[in-house]
């Protein structure tokens, strides 16, 4: 107790150092979160026990799956297409992803400026953000199918649908990075007589450029994955269509392996390039 007497009174935590100190206080929300997590954990376990397994022998199923994976990835081969053909088809898929991302980005910059609360009015911003949230809530594939009603199933519907969804995604990303800019900067340029577009190009965009590029790259990666799926689902061509043919038409699992390798290689290349590019931007920008 003697040692404690030197401690300033009014600091209860220091008076009894042996008592454990809580760093988290139980509030209503933390309790609610914990109950939810427990309930989810319970449901997950229960679900596994309540599945109807019927005749499936677990051991056999796992072995069969491994055999399939082995055939897919270790015995990959070309049968119905050549290497150059596959390469060309990957380029088509990349092209689809690139085109829709660029179209989306250009439209999204302008809509994003309108949707940024600090640049226009709260009302305009709320309207655009609302519309864009609705578009985003519907999956890309569905938009492609919706546009296919007018344009027919194929690459045109894919380009329109994917662009549509890219715009909605990028408007949100861009407008949020525009809103990050300190209002004082805009005020300072206004006070010197600068016009709206001068402020946009001299302050708003330079300040958000790295964010914008990061988001655009992310969307490009998403669009590449979607473009593969579109090849199969909407007949947009590209490597996705070949994959569809290999799996549903020729039933050739080894060829699917080859195509998967192609897609994987592109995805890794994109990732590496994006990381390098971003690093460079951060140094120079």
């Amino acid at each position: 107790m003697e040692a404690n007497e030197q401690v300033v009174s009014g600091e209860p935590m220091l008076e009894s150092p042996s008592k454990p100190i809580k760093i988290k206080i139980l509030t209503k929300s933390t309790i609610a979160i914990r109950i939810t997590l427990l309930a989810l954990a319970f449901l997950t376990v229960y679900a596994f026990f309540s599945f109807d397994y019927k005749e499936i022998d677990f051991g056999e199923a796992i072995l069969a799956t491994f055999a399939n994976i082995k055939a897919m990835f270790f015995e990959a081969h070309f049968n119905h297409f050549t290497f150059t053909h596959a390469f060309y088809q990957v380029l088509i898929t990349l092209g689809l992803a690139f085109l829709t991302t660029i179209f989306g980005a250009i439209i999204a910059v302008f809509l994003g400026l309108l949707a940024a609360e600090n640049l226009t009015s709260k009302r305009v911003s709320a309207v655009i953000k609302g519309i864009v949230a609705f578009i985003r809530a519907v999956p890309t594939v569905l938009w492609v199918l919706i546009f296919a009603v007018a344009a027919g199933l194929g690459s045109v519907a894919a380009v329109i649908g994917m662009t549509f969804h890219s715009v909605s995604y990028l408007v949100k990303a861009y407008s949020e990075s525009f809103e990050e800019l300190d209002n004082g900067v805009i005020e300072a340029l206004q006070a010197s007589g600068a016009s709206f577009w001068q402020i946009i190009f001299q302050a708003v965009i330079p300040s958000s450029l790295t964010y914008m590029i990061s988001w655009t790259f992310l969307r490009f990666e998403i669009n590449f994955a979607v473009a593969v799926a579109m090849g199969a689902a909407a007949g947009a061509g590209g490597i996705g269509f070949d994959m569809f043919m290999a799996s549903n038409f020729y039933l050739d699992i080894r060829e699917i392996g080859t195509i998967t390798y192609f897609i994987l290689a592109i995805a890794i290349l994109l990732e590496v390039f994006a990381t390098k590019f971003k690093k460079k931007l951060r140094v120079n920008g």
């Binding site: 004082g184 900067v185 005020e187 300072a188 010197s192 001068q198 001299q202 330079p206 450029l209």
Partner: protein, 262 residues
């Protein structure tokens, strides 16, 4: 001498409740260095912002260079704004751009929209920027990004951006509130110098009474949106300070004794 700026019966109401300014009157002549002091919430920032119409005053008239600022159309207002430089407590630079780019931003108001948006500046403008930056002691930093500078250096870039406008008047909203005493002195010396050697009128909001008294030709004291003192630093008395700052003024009175004695 005819006044460069006249503020007549200016009031500003925010919403229904807050009366930020009520019946403010004063005038400032060409080349004068005027400090505005007053407690927090007195309406100092509101007053400065009404002058270049960053905020629209509710009532009264503001005459700058023989023009009624409150009646101006968009184009004319822009023209008036190019003649008024403004610097801020938080500098308000574009962090990702270089010192010289930030300085050149002061020219945007005079350029065509396209040339300004694309950042196309001519040789003359660039030379002018370098010249101003070197008088402010920033010439070795011109290619540094603004966010790599110290607070005092950022504020000097803020001054450079205002000076390149070739302004008749500078409005400074608490330019030294975020700075250490040394940097603050450097900034105040530059502002004083701008007023004395270039003949630019300087209107500056300050929280430090001693600084206001030391640097100003004239001090305007504001309390609750009203001008309660308007005179030279020599004329200011303990009573005036008490009237400007209300009852919390005890410590400040001490400062004044020191200043007048020295």
């Amino acid at each position: 001498m005819t006044p460069l700026l006249e503020v007549n019966h200016v009031s500003k109401q925010f919403g229904n409740e807050t009366k930020a300014l009520s019946d403010v009157n004063f005038s400032v002549s060409e080349g004068e260095f005027v400090s505005i002091i007053g407690p927090s919430g007195a309406g100092k920032s509101t007053l400065l912002r009404c002058i270049n119409r960053m905020i629209d005053a509710s009532n009264g008239e503001i005459i700058f260079d023989n023009m009624n600022v409150m009646n101006l159309k968009k184009k004319e207002l822009k023209m008036v704004r190019t003649k008024i430089g403004m610097i801020f407590q938080h500098y308000n630079l574009v962090n990702r751009l270089s010192v010289i780019e930030n300085t050149l931003h002061g020219n945007l108001g005079k350029k065509s929209t396209i040339a300004g948006a694309l950042g196309l500046y001519n040789q003359e403008e660039k030379e002018q920027a370098v010249k101003i930056l070197s008088t402010l002691g920033l010439v070795e930093h011109i290619y540094k990004r603004a966010d790599q500078l110290s607070g005092g250096q950022k504020q000097r870039v803020g001054i450079a951006r205002a000076l390149i406008q070739n302004p008749r008047m500078m409005l400074c909203d608490e330019p030294i509130a975020s700075l250490d005493p040394n940097s603050a002195k450097v900034i105040m010396d530059h502002l004083r110098n701008i007023s004395t050697t270039m003949g630019i009128t300087v209107l500056v909001n300050l929280h430090q009474v001693d600084v206001a008294l030391k640097y100003s030709d004239r001090v305007i004291g504001i309390n609750h949106g009203q001008v309660v003192f308007n005179g030279t630093p020599k004329d200011i008395t303990k009573d005036d300070i008490q009237r400007i700052y209300g009852s919390e003024a005890e410590d400040l009175i001490f400062d004044i004794g020191g200043i007048h004695a020295s």
